[in-house]
Symmetry: C2
Subunit: 267 residues, 2 copies
């Protein structure tokens, strides 16, 4: 076998070996899509004009995403913030137009401020948060709610691996993107294993701060936990996901407590 | 030899085999840096307040970058736009704070509107232009000027290769990023070969439109030529460059001729 053949085989294996079997893929029906986008007059600079409920997007002073380098952001004590999402036999994968979302409610988040139940998880590309001005090519958001509908989000920055290694959970889901390529399509996945996600947060205590939803209506009072170390993704999965996600990251907001950048721009 | 060893060797070779010898690396002195940035009150939403010369950044109506999907953008006839940059024995590589720039004046751009001389080239990550709402992880800008100081820029969108193949010119330059890691540092490169860049534009006629500089003072009347097919980069070089470039892309502007998005946001 020629080296080139060994190499291409090895790369193919390393990129896919961790993908569990998935259900036959093809859109199964239509999901809800949103009226906002990431460019022009439906983009982030104008979200506050799309709907009057979105006024926080222009006037809030504790908006997300932020650059994680300010004094308002601290690292949580090790073990104080824990995700526990058991294996799922299936979950609904939806193309929302503004992004790709997995609806799954069987999972929990424990924090010093309270306990939350998983609602969904989704991705942004490029990343929304930055660490010391550095962005990542992608970011995953696991969204949790408590009994009073308060929201906590765990963000995982995702860097690209130079060796072909990858996060199996993400490979597994992004292998289904062709089946939900068009906004509004959905499909049910095969089994999903969250061991890597649970484990990653245990090993890498997150940055914590109080911010907002990064999409309309930009509601504040969201408890953010952003993992201090990135997860890894193969280029193959990244390229597949990016073709669908396009560009779906809100621009970085002003320092927590400071005037909204859109207001600053007006003055 | 174990497969894992063959693989890591092969990946290392494929990522670096095209890098020509470079001069011993280490900062040689201090270059000029800029007073703008890509977040907070020195970021794109506020560039017009940093200096009164930057008013176009908020009030211009033909600003760059744009999403290349409008009727104002056409593909240039094949062969009508040509880059010719001969091999260079060395060039000055500078860390400007806002990005990484190679100063090189030996090269030309031929277009139906006139001929231009190379002034410098630099990179943005993620890409500034989008094609049908899709961004790329990086974009290279080759900046040319004519005798009357009119500006033409050739943009190459850069996608990440899944096989480890790469654009040798970029690998070669990004292998020097450690030597210019801090804003203001510069170094002289070893020999640079532009065959791939010249050839890529010959094979892939660019999109063309009239826009602006994407950095302050956001001057309009810039002739843009954006290659219709991406160039490829290895993840290794991408990660190396991204660590230095951080996030240095202006947010996408409104459709050509339409009111500036910052003005729309104010209304």
């Amino acid at each position: 076998m020629k080296l080139a053949t060994v190499l291409s085989l090895a790369v193919a294996v390393s990129a896919y070996c961790c993908v569990p079997p998935v259900k036959p893929a093809g859109p199964e029906g239509h999901a809800h899509t949103f009226n906002f986008d990431y460019e022009g007059e439906t983009g982030p600079l104008n979200w506050h004009h799309i709907d009057r409920d979105n006024s926080q997007c222009a006037h809030g002073k504790h908006q997300s995403p932020i650059d994680i380098s300010s004094n308002s952001v601290t690292i949580a004590p090790r073990g104080s913030v824990r995700i526990n999402i058991p294996k799922a036999s299936t979950a609904k994968l939806e193309n929302l137009g503004s992004g790709l979302e997995v609806v799954l409610t069987n999972g929990s988040l424990t924090t010093p401020n309270g306990n939350y139940q998983l609602a969904q998880f989704h991705w942004h590309t490029p990343s929304e948060h930055r660490i010391s001005a550095q962005h990542s090519p992608m970011e995953a958001h696991f969204v949790f709610k408590d009994a009073a509908s308060r929201i906590a989000v765990v963000g995982f920055l995702i860097e690209l691996s130079e060796t072909g290694s990858s996060t199996c959970l993400f490979d597994s889901i992004f292998s289904l993107t062709d089946a939900v390529y068009h906004p509004g399509e959905y499909v049910h996945t095969g089994p999903l294993d969250f061991t890597e996600v649970n484990h990653h947060l245990d090993l890498n205590p997150p940055y914590q701060y109080s911010g907002s939803l990064t999409t309309p209506p930009c509601t504040e009072g969201v408890s953010w936990y952003v993992s201090s170390e990135p997860m890894l993704l193969s280029v193959r999965s990244y390229n597949k996901a990016k073709r669908l996600l396009k560009f779906n990251a809100r621009y970085i907001q002003n320092t927590l407590g400071a005037e909204n950048l859109l207001q600053v721009a007006e003055d």
